[in-house]
């Protein structure tokens, strides 16, 4: 019985006028062990939990838009914030690293907490164990999707078109989601590896035995509720915005590929 419970029971019995025994301290052998393995384990647990907590907190503080770390699972931000709420936190310098290689910056004020600096202590540990995530699921806001539309030129002048992801062509659902993330994260990858879009176009070309490929990145905007009620097609052409494209081989090496609408 714990000491608190012992005291409470003692007081209750005294109120009821029942004979009580003197409260004795719990026997020494009931106290938990204080041995080196347990102390070491406790220190390891504290270290680990500190790292687990610092990683997402650093993501939250490092920047409001966009995140220094790639989103843990959610899509990019909405095109417009519905009521324009400003982040209460000052913006930290953006990371140049698509992986969220956060630049540790000096605070403008001595009292400002420095979770980014704390992160540097745990960085290697977090990276090695794949714990360097922000868990920003559909955060800060659920946003539009990004897709890749491609046109590949086969030998003989034929064209093939397609898009990534394409739910009608890709199964199972998890594989579809992987291609979806490939399209979504192309921008994040390109920030650090500018040749990434060309690499994707090259892979499309070679894997299909084609001569050339044109790959365009599209943003598929979301319908407002009123548009949905008016019957606007969520897959309509006007909902897709071309953000840019690349050709492989690069244009200077071959005649430009005619873009299709």
């Amino acid at each position: 019985m714990r000491n608190k419970e012992r005291v409470a029971t003692h007081r209750k019995m005294k109120k009821q006028g029942r004979p009580t025994q003197p409260i004795e301290a719990p026997p020494e052998d009931s106290a938990p062990e204080v041995n080196p393995p347990r102390i070491l384990a406790s220190l390891a647990i504290l270290w680990h939990l500190s790292a687990v907590i610092v990683a997402p907190c650093a993501v939250l503080v490092s920047t409001a838009e966009p995140l220094a770390f790639p989103p843990g699972g959610g899509p990019p931000f909405a095109e417009t914030s519905a009521n324009g709420l400003e982040t209460p936190l000052p913006q930290a310098p953006r990371s140049n690293d698509a992986m969220g290689n956060v630049e540790v910056s000096e605070p403008t004020s001595a009292w400002y907490p420095r979770p980014l600096a704390w992160l540097s202590v745990f960085e290697h540990y977090l990276d090695a164990l794949y714990l360097n995530h922000g868990y920003s699921f559909f955060a800060p806001d659920p946003g539009p999707s990004h897709l890749l539309r491609y046109q590949i030129s086969m030998q003989g002048g034929e064209y093939e078109t397609g898009k990534l992801p394409d739910a009608s062509q890709i199964w199972p659902r998890l594989l579809y989601h992987r291609y979806f993330m490939l399209a979504e994260q192309t921008e994040a990858v390109t920030q650090q590896a500018p040749s990434a879009p060309l690499a994707i176009a090259e892979h499309l070309t070679k894997s299909n035995g084609a001569e050339r490929a044109l790959v365009e990145r599209m943003r598929h905007r979301l319908l407002w509720p009123v548009e949905s009620l008016e019957g606007v097609d969520p897959q309509g052409a006007e909902t897709y915005l071309i953000q840019g494209g690349v050709e492989w081989p690069p244009a200077e090496d071959s005649p430009p590929v005619e873009k299709t609408q």
Binding site: G73, A82, M99, D141, L182, A199, P225
Partner: protein, 328 residues
Amino acid sequence: MTQLRGGIQQTWAAWSRFWFTPADSQLLAVIRILAGSLLFYTHLVWSFDLAGFFGGDGWLPADMMREQIHGQRPMLWSYFFYIESTPLLWLIHILSLAVFSCLAIGLFVPLISPLAFIAAVAYAQRVTPGAYFGLDPINCMLALYLCIGRPGDHFSVDAWLRKRRGQPAPEPSSRNNVAIRLIQVHMAVVYFCSALAKLQGGTWWNGTAIWWAVANTEYSTINLRWLADWPNLVAILTYATLFWELTYAALIWPRATRPWMLAGAVALHAGIGFGMGMLTFAFAMLIGNLAFVPGPWLQAAIDKLPTIRSSAVDSPRLDKNQTAKRTN
């Protein structure tokens, strides 16, 4: 000074009780089976385009990723950055699938657990960024904590082999408790930080976030755009999601509120799984929530399964005091 010493002793006692009370491994074994199966399926799916995602000349070439993205952070490791040969890639992949399946069925678990974690991280690092999403960090988290406990002591081929050899049943171990507690605390951190991240966005404040989620046709598997006519329902769902995530870290621990929070987890992740097409992610999160299932519930479920119960007879049975210590 005496009060300080007493406070420290009480704190140490509470800490020890929370983390180091010996626990049976039955719950951890259930998590092992489900997480191992999910790991197997997650990585089996890569087979459809293995060379594309992991090959040297895939969608995002290995040398490009290694040099331009991962090069500045040496601990963002993956042996897939160095595999150029397609036959070798497939060999590694098949061996990894074998490892995950051994984890699921509980064969050679003390050796397989760390190998499964290493493999899971290697896959995830190679596609981060590129093709990863929330499923991958949760998979790796579960694989990590399974290494700490003794998840192979029950419901496993190892347990069957042990019984055939006439070896005694394993005793409850502090390692099992540490593993379960780490999963519990980690899940609490995940949900809380997810909520904080949402609070940085305007749509979670103004109650429209759920609409923007269901309006995304690339995610949605069920047409929920009829919600456009029900703005109040959208707001309720939005605030309920936010409230549940924000309070999870506090309300999942007390016995009175835990069943409600677990029910909320099932509802939330069922919505994400069936409505947004992310069944695997939903399943991974529910596996993490399993760590909060009280021992008596698990024991009652086990007692209803005669096949499992007969193999559990030899094992120390979960008793209420033991589970109370473990789960409080």
